[in-house]
Symmetry: C2
Subunit: 556 residues, 2 copies
């Protein structure tokens, strides 16, 4: 077993370069830099409008179906970026911001790991530059404006039972999933059954991530549907005159955040939506800004290639007109053994049979990615328990399956552990070939069917009673040509989290369709969606501490 | 009537100095500066430990009993600071941060006004450096840890009905005053009747404002009482192992924020607690830091001298060992006419009778301030409708009453409008004479009685049934020697908001006593306390907007 210092210890022992130096090396003009301390900055997008072209080659880092063991997707991305830098490529990272809720819950940190981290990791994991707080403030200000409108006479005739807008908070708090507000009598508002989501699952987070400019941000904020009138008509934030105030609250958050990797590669860390209820990628603006200053841009999508990967291609790339040059599918031997039926507690034991049985999960993801016109490379992220026989099997499998595979050891070796991988990725770049899977103009049902058949390999799609009603009002309101965000368990290609491997011929059950008219997509709920996590019995918060000189410990 | 551009227009037209220049002029070492953009910074208190002495003369700016017309206390303070700077004094301001909730509600901004503002006012009014968000995050993280503890087996035997810890949010949202959480069945937590306060009214805000160091902050966070066990024993945040994580969340917020006035005077703007549920002053650390770099330090306390002023002397100065050199009581002719019975809508009409009748309010505040050993100066903040006869009356009254009075016109003239006032304040400095009104060692009842008799001029104090029970458990738990924060209407010296002027011989009714063991005081509730405001029918948010280039309008 490999032992090394904890993530926060590695990060704190590392001498950071001033962010002005990182920016200067990347060619980011001084005038565009808004410092937050000496090692973080926001980059003013209005000061970059004349910087052209934005032609960096985009490499999408995605993964196999996630398993409880963890695959280290962000860690591989960061190590790979440092490897590209070591190869002399002008490289820039674009990643999501960690959510503070899970940092206090199970995760304890989400800024890579080991010797492949973005730093300053304590700041990135806690508050950072305040983007999540701005989203919570905007979301909750809108909620207060809605409830106040109803309380003060309800000129818009809003049906209090049909307010779909929920408050949000960046805390794992299961007790806020279902709440009743407005109790205590007439002076304290109108009682309502509602709930809080975690900020990463909010529509304003999705809006931030898809907005192309301040003007576009304001338009999308105004387009939010907050609920319905007694007559069933949708009501927007614009009708409540809220979009100006919401834009003011979100103005600074729209600027991408610049930090660095342990290898000194510039990293834009901006936006952090869930990959089920939204598209699960960092902001479009961060990726496009990275393309202005990097010849190679490494960017990530949440969960497996069927969820975040699909949405990266079908939502983010569509909205932003992105050309994707390469894709990395991060896999581990452990994850494929798990998909092949090996129990979680036995994953460190060699089991070639399970590996052989489970690698169909990886195969399916590779096949799927190819449907988007790019040439996927498998990054085999090594773990101390992987045996030579297992590694040999994976190499042989890749040759047989006809996909490029490179091992990497970024957690213990940083960029040096991904040099092979970087070269393999570079050898598989394409240009002008990436594409979307479906055309939303064909209508929401056709979009869902295409994804279900082509990627999930379902044989049919079934709409529950609620979904059928939703479909009707989506058509009535002219929303049927929005692209679709399918909210599905990340553990399976099907909507059954226990169906591991590569299930086929199943039925996709659509329970509900949620219009996200501000973000510009329709969410199709299949199975249960967690929009507000809870804390575990022993929260990571218990271990977090601060010394008298301000050093934070317990993040990992 | 005077007309001039709006506050935000004045602020935006003003060329700001780089914050590095403001800091350099003040003598703040470069190494201590943590920039947030180019015009805001935090000052790292750990880098200032060797900067001595902290001997700036503290001038407390307080006021008469507030009236609906507004007295302009912060505006006078800022103009007065710029006047001191113009007189060649090394001057530093220490002020509270605005709360975003009221900015979106009635206020539309709270960073001074006219030509006496702190800038950048848009940033200060919206998010600023994230201190309020950090407090909300810490407060709500603790709430989730409490509910999670109960949900996961409740080892500490916490009685869910007796959890006193509430969540907070920096939004005016009446619908969150009374809520039921934890609904939806056993996997979604334990149902509880609770509520949200606005962040400014939270205990962690009070803790931030009274903490003397990072170590002290951590101790206070651990000392928070979150509720009681089934056996009636208090439970602390420390018992939930939460104080490390809370300290990590609050670490950066503890550093004072540096900005500038329109006149270029350095201003620490840090902390923003309510003056009823807490002490209502900016942070102790900001005031002490200001004392290191200014010979004159102007600092404010919320509401009238009976509320914020008393707490500044009895809580903040006691905790920090502050010597107060001077006090300014801000008054307007309008406010005294209102206290003399003139209707709000007629305040711009000359009425010497009402002025004569109402000036007893100012008299009482002046007398009260003297009991703390300082020599108050009356700042008569002029309004366009004040007549010469009314102004003459005020001068004659001051001579007769034996108090120094100076007119000022800071809203329209900035620092130039307060030169007289500055000289008058300087002429009335004392040294080593300021003192507290009571000794908490005599017990909570004695402390309340002293304040009620000496300042409010009540003839008796009555405890309601709940307060009597509270008194008992306060004694049982050894909390009776904490100082007291009396929560009382700001409109009257009594607990009846309609008793204007200078009531005497009334009874102070104590309804409830709330232990704030982290902040280190007991709150005595008299009358209703608003810990969560609502939005008005036409919220200020409706008027706030952002242009495509990012300029914010609608703040005032």
């Amino acid at each position: 077993m490999t032992t090394q210092p904890s993530d926060v210890e590695i990060a704190q022992a590392h001498p950071l370069k001033p962010i002005t130096e990182i920016a200067a090396t990347a060619g980011i003009p001084d005038a565009a830099l808004i410092p937050y301390g000496t090692t973080k900055a926001k980059v003013d997008i209005t000061a970059l409008q004349d910087v052209e072209p934005a032609e960096g080659k985009i490499v999408l880092v995605t993964g196999v179906s996630p398993t409880p063991a963890g695959e280290g997707k962000s860690t591989v991305l960061i190590g790979l970026a440092d490897a590209f830098s070591q190869l002399g490529e002008r490289t820039v990272v674009a990643l999501r911001e960690p959510s503070q809720g899970p940092v206090m819950g199970i995760k304890g940190g989400a800024a890579g790991g080991g010797y492949s981290q973005i730093v300053p990791m304590e700041d990135i994991n806690l508050h950072f530059t305040g983007d999540f707080h701005a989203i919570s403030a905007a979301t909750n200000t809108l909620a207060s404006i809605i409830d106040n409108h109803i309380h003060q006479g309800n000129d818009l005739n809003i049906d209090p039972r049909k307010v779909t807008w929920q408050r949000c908070i960046d805390v794992n708090d299961r007790a806020l999933r279902n709440v009743v507000t407005g109790l205590g009598g007439p002076t304290h508002g109108v009682p309502a059954e509602t709930g809080f989501t975690i900020t990463a699952a909010s529509e304003i987070m999705a809006i931030l991530c898809l907005a192309t400019s301040l003007k576009d941000l304001k338009k999308r904020l105004g387009d939010i549907t907050i609920g319905f009138t007694y007559d069933g008509e949708p009501v927007t934030a614009r009708q409540l005159q809220a979009e100006g105030a919401l834009t003011a609250l979100m103005r600074d958050a729209l600027n991408p955040n610049l930090v660095q990797t342990l290898g000194g590669t510039p990293a834009f860390v901006h936006g952090g939506p869930f990959a089920n209820i939204a598209h699960g990628c960092n902001t479009l603006l961060a990726t496009q800004t990275a393309q202005k200053f990097g010849d190679v841009v490494l960017t990530e999508a949440g969960f497996g290639a069927d969820l975040g990967g699909e949405k990266f291609m079908d939502i983010k790339s569509r909205f932003g007109g992105l050309d994707v040059a390469g894709a990395v599918v991060v896999a581990t031997i452990r994850s494929q053994k798990y998909n092949g039926g090996q129990a979680r507690e036995d994953l460190t034991t060699e089991n070639l049979e399970a590996l052989k049985a489970g690698v169909i999960n990886l195969e399916r993801h590779v096949e799927n990615i190819r449907k988007f016109g790019v040439k996927p490379v498998v990054a085999l992220n090594l773990f101390w328990s992987d045996t030579q026989a297992e590694r040999d099997f994976m190499r042989e499998w890749a040759e047989g399956f006809g996909v490029a595979l490179a091992e990497c050891s970024v957690w213990s070796d940083g960029g040096a552990g991904a040099l092979d991988l970087a070269q393999t990725v570079r050898d598989n770049f394409v240009k002008g070939e990436s594409k979307q899977l479906y055309d939303p103009a064909a209508g929401i049902e056709a979009s869902i069917e295409t994804i279900a058949h082509e990627l999930y390999r379902a044989s049919s799609v079934e709409y529950g009673p609620k979904a059928k009603k939703d479909l009707q009002y989506i058509k009535d309101n002219g929303w049927e040509e929005f692209p679709v965000v399918i909210s599905k368990t990340q553990y399976s290609f099907s909507d059954d989290p226990t169906a591991l491997g590569a299930p086929m011929g199943h039925t996709l059950h659509v329970r509900e369709l949620l219009p996200r008219t501000g973000a510009g997509f329709i969410v199709a709920l299949t199975g249960d969606v967690m929009t507000m996590p809870g804390l575990p019995k022993e929260p990571a918060a218990n271990r977090i501490d601060v010394t008298q000189d301000g050093t934070i410990s317990g993040l990992f």
